[in-house]
Amino acid sequence: MSGLPGLRYLPILLQAAVVTVELSVVVVVLGTALGTVLAVLARLLGRPGGMVLAVYVYVLRGVPLLVLVFGAYFCLPLLVADVSKTTAVVLAMTLYMAAFVAEITRGAMAGIPRGLTDAARSLGMPPMLALRRVVLPLAARSAVPPLVNRTVMTIKGTSLASVIGLWELSLAGREIIQRDLVPFQVFGLIALIYFLLCVSVARLGARLERRFAYEH
């Protein structure tokens, strides 16, 4: 069970880690964008918008990500021909992440005092401008910690892509195990790679948070 023999698997695992990182970046970018748009749209549309968003968030957050991944993988080919595994995973994970981001953004915007919007409006700013210049920048500050947390969850979540056969870090590990039965070395290395990725993101997030903090 010594750690060293596992090192010969490092090159292939790092190659797989690149796929994991790519997948995470795409999902985080798309999920954050979609979630923010949904939250802003819901706010602009008032009560009915809020209710539609609430249902979306409720359904997507109430179902396991794995079920969404399987669902996308099995259902998408019936709708459109030629769906790659990557498309299915990205779609499922983006919709899932967007639900969390929408809820985070909604909460962050609700935390901005109504008086600020009123002040901006009375200075003659149209609603969209007031939202863009006043509410969103302030909301972004309080949204940073939960968004960073979500990003870490997403990195870990990409491991689920392996269950539909998308080759990334987790599947690469499973393939090696099936060939050379050395679970501790290989999964140890994989866990370490995930750990470093997640911790780096968390550290970066903490720095971002400090930068965005209010100056008293």
Partner: protein, 217 residues
């Protein structure tokens, strides 16, 4: 393509059997995670080596995917001479993973109760352990109930990963049905609805418990 509800109704026993297993492993997972979290939180609050070990456990388990932890337990246990029973591996993994998250929940709850209460209790002659049990823990529990319930909902959802080590839980039952039949929409609609029902019920029960435990202020 129509929506063949008959297919789901015909195969409902299969799905319900999966649901039953999902509920059982989730409940056992929580029964393991809660004491782990509480013990770790109590150790974490002390200075010294024990606190550092717990901190390392929390960081390691929170920053790696549950799937990988599950594989280590499932594929690794047989190598050190322990039988790799999938259900046991799954419950242990769920317990360790969510135990790490619960450690932080319990720690926050314990710290939220004023330290003066501990001082007051010791002034009345209570030992630390007794003061913890009678004064701090009951109050902390009330404070952390929402986070605890939230973690349970996540645990139920994460129990779906057990399907990757050949446990026929709700997710696996659905996947098998989807592979064997053309009724893909119907199957995923049904299992999605079942998970939603479980998570909603858990959330409602929790809100009721919170409401009952509320202090009149």
């Amino acid at each position: 393509m129509g929506f063949d509800i008959q297919y789901i109704l015909r195969n409902l026993p299969l799905l319900l059997e999966g649901l039953r297993l999902t509920l059982i492993v989730s409940a056992l997972g929580l029964l393991l995670a809660a004491p782990i979290g509480l013990a770790a939180a109590l150790m974490r609050l002390r200075r010294g080596a024990a606190g550092r070990v717990v901190a390392a456990y929390v960081e390691a388990f929170r920053n790696t995917p549950l799937l990988i932890q599950l594989y280590v337990v499932y594929f690794g246990l047989p190598l050190i001479g322990l039988a790799g029973d999938p259900t046991v591996s799954g419950i242990v993994s769920l317990g360790l993973y969510h135990g790490a998250f619960l450690t932080e929940v319990f720690r926050a709850g314990l710290q939220a109760v004023s330290a003066r209460q501990l001082e007051a209790a010791s002034a009345l002659g209570m030992r630390h352990r007794l003061a913890m049990r009678r004064i701090i823990l009951p109050q902390a529990l009330r404070l952390m109930l929402p986070a605890l319930g939230n973690e349970f909902v996540l645990l139920v959802k994460n129990s779906s990963l057990l399907s990757t080590i050949a446990i026929v839980d709700l997710t696996m039952a659905g996947k098998l049905m989807a592979e064997q039949s053309g009724a893909v929409y119907e199957v995923f609609f049904a299992i999605g609805l079942m998970y939603l029902t479980v998570t909603t019920t858990a959330a409602l029960l929790l809100r009721r418990a919170e409401w009952r435990l509320q202090i009149a202020e």
